[in-house]
């Protein structure tokens, strides 16, 4: 197609070429993220080279390396993991290609390797979830936690933030915690088992909407009412989650906004133009209660 060959286009005709190495398409959230970036690039008249790493860091590194080879103007990527980027980022730096991180930071002592980091703060998301519970809980609470994929960064951080906040309330206790792999089936199966092994669960804290939705199915099948008998808190705010929230089956959702395409394109333009950009740009994110969801739902994009 037209994007077949990159070339050092920036100087000549003014088009900016940006190479974006996406993690994969492992969730609805990620797909929304990809779509947002593609649409924003189109709107901003930026040529986008996109690659999907199929959730594998080595593929991402490979893609970044090929962007260096193709001499794009800006490289952007969502790191699969924090660690292990130094070598390839150094190559980009040597080739004088600026790098923008999205979604997650990298764990490197050398901050000159990238220009800026645009994305959410997963620990903060966990904290927000915890705060809502601390504020709205009366009396002792038995919480079960549906973790994301073992070892995945959002899982680790959302757990950390949540635990940090509820530590202030000794009567709120996490009685069981298990991974549901960020999937609905996982959430449902784990919740089923919890409902049998742990009596009187008060609250479910799910690391994403999908697991929360799976848990709702399990709770219903066990003859209880989700949102009433058992409160549910989730993170993400994808459409299906928002609908469940509006329907009263989820009690609280912390937003994790995938729509950072526009912000990314802005940053890319500034970086190419040599303007100063802040080291950390946090995406605008909010939280939703049931009422807020009802109000917000009609004009949600994803």
């Amino acid at each position: 197609g037209e994007g077949g060959s990159g070339g050092a286009a920036a100087g000549d005709d003014g088009t900016i070429t940006i190479g974006f190495a996406q993690v994969g398409a492992e969730s609805g959230w990620r797909t929304a993220n990809t779509k947002s970036i593609q649409e924003a690039a189109e709107a901003a008249g930026i040529e986008l080279k996109f690659s999907d790493a199929q959730q594998r860091q080595e593929n991402q590194i490979r893609a970044i390396r090929s962007y260096v080879q193709q001499r794009v103007d800006v490289i952007a990527f969502s790191p699969v993991v924090e660690t292990g980027w130094d070598t390839v980022l150094l190559e980009a730096k040597r080739a004088n290609i600026p790098v923008i991180l999205t979604d997650r930071a990298v764990d490197s002592d050398d901050t000159s390797l990238y220009e800026t980091f645009l994305g959410s703060d997963f620990v903060e998301e966990g904290r927000k979830a915890g705060e809502w519970l601390v504020e709205n809980a009366t009396g002792p609470q038995k919480v079960v936690e549906l973790q994301g994929t073992t070892g995945a960064a959002p899982a680790i951080d959302r757990k950390e933030g949540f635990e940090e906040v509820i530590a202030s309330r000794p009567d709120i206790e996490i009685v069981a915690s298990q991974t549901g792999d960020f999937t609905r089936s996982g959430g449902k199966q784990v919740m089923e088992a919890f409902l049998r092994s742990t009596p009187d669960i008060d609250v479910v804290y799910a690391h994403n909407d999908d697991m929360g939705l799976g848990a709702i199915e399990a709770i219903k099948a066990a003859g209880k009412v989700p949102g009433k008998d058992i409160k549910i808190i989730t993170v993400d705010a994808v459409k299906a989650g928002m609908e469940a929230l509006a329907a009263g089956e989820i009690n609280f959702i912390v937003e994790c906004n995938p729509l950072l395409g526009e912000q990314l394109m802005e940053l890319a333009k500034k970086v190419v133009a040599g303007e100063e950009v802040p080291e950390r740009v946090v995406t605008e994110e909010t939280t939703f209660t049931q009422e807020e969801a009802k109000a917000a739902l009609p004009d949600r994009q994803y």
Partner: protein
């Protein structure tokens, strides 16, 4: 002989169940509510139904000396087709029919690559394993398609006293058992698996048989995919049936069927699938921390395999009785 081989896996299953009982005293409790049977054991069977179904098909494929890695992707495609069709306003029955027809076509494709083109099964099906997930995602455009349809929900989450998923799987098990005993399929499948050249010279239509088993496993995967997506009323192209091929193969092998083809055991596969699901449930109920889940699984799998291993099992059996007595027992068993 084969029953003896299954003895140890069966005991391992009992041990796992007892372990659960220690942590959850009500583990074996079953109760009837609104005409539905509930209980942990029912949960295990229901959640294990897709794996069992796929493992049944896989048993036959493995008996022909093949393997099918694409079942997870096929399951995802089935769910994606059905859910997108329903989401677009289609009826649930046509949706399911459409999904199964497509799965049969995918099975034909795998069978074609293996039996006509002659590509090694693991690679032939790897193609669809990779591309299939892409196709499923193409259908759903990478989104999780959520639907709300009561008829569709029945497949994975409905009840006829017992969960319908269990009934379907057991019916397929019965059907396969009947089909392989009452027709010559079982014997021909084994003979193609053990010695393809001798079978060819004996006039066996090896190609047709291989083709049949790949279509059958794809259909099993399709039904399993419908169950998985129906269970959560959504199609998740990326995660539905992820790694289920490994579980299914594991179930088959724990059940005593050799990957080298030939003799197989459907009862063994049933046992294997139940063990695997029980293991998963056990991890959840006894509260194994997620970070040691895999180690726990590994240990159980190793123990089951060791118990069943041809070299160990006789040694264990022999320990209490002197070898001569053992021979006598076997002699009686043979007659």
């Amino acid at each position: 002989m084969s029953n003896r081989r299954l003895l140890w896996p069966a005991l391992a299953l009992v041990a796992l169940l007892l372990l659960n009982l220690v942590f959850t005293p009500s583990f074996f409790a079953l109760r009837l509510q609104d005409g539905h049977l509930f209980g942990s054991l029912v949960d295990i069977l229901r959640n294990g139904a897709p794996t069992l179904l796929i493992a049944l098909g896989m048993t036959l494929v493995i008996a022909t000396r093949g393997i099918d890695l694409s079942v997870g992707a096929v399951a995802a495609i089935a769910g994606a087709v059905a859910c997108t069709h329903i989401a677009d306003g289609g009826g649930p029955v046509t949706a399911m029919a459409l999904a199964l027809v497509l799965c049969a076509v995918l099975g034909l494709w795998n069978g074609f690559l293996v039996s006509v083109v002659g590509i090694q099964p693991i690679i032939a099906t790897l193609v669809l394993m990779t591309a299939g997930r892409g196709i499923a995602m193409l259908l759903t455009e990478g989104q999780i398609v959520t639907i709300d349809d009561d008829v569709y929900r029945q497949v994975g989450a409905g009840f006829l006293v017992l969960p319908i998923a269990i009934l379907i799987s057991l019916a397929v098990l019965g059907g396969v058992a009947l089909a392989t005993r009452r027709t010559a399929l079982g014997m021909l499948v084994e003979s193609v698996g053990v010695n393809p050249e001798a079978s060819r010279l004996a006039g066996v239509r090896a190609r047709t048989i291989i083709w049949t088993v790949y279509v059958f496993v794809a259909l099993c995967a399709g039904v399993a995919g419908l169950m998985i997506s129906s269970n959560v009323s959504a199609a998740d192209a990326n995660n539905a049936g992820l790694w289920i091929e490994l579980d299914a193969i594991l179930a088959v092998v724990i059940g005593g069927t050799s990957l080298a083809g030939g003799r197989y055991s459907l009862t063994g596969t049933l046992l294997g699938a139940v063990i695997i699901q029980t293991l998963t449930t056990t991890v959840y109920t006894i509260g194994v921390p997620p970070e040691v889940t895999l180690v726990f699984k590994a240990v159980v799998v190793i123990i089951v395999c060791l118990l069943q291993a041809p070299r160990v099992a006789p040694a264990l059996r022999r320990a209490p009785a002197p070898p001569k007595a053992e021979q006598e027992v076997e002699e009686v068993a043979v007659r």
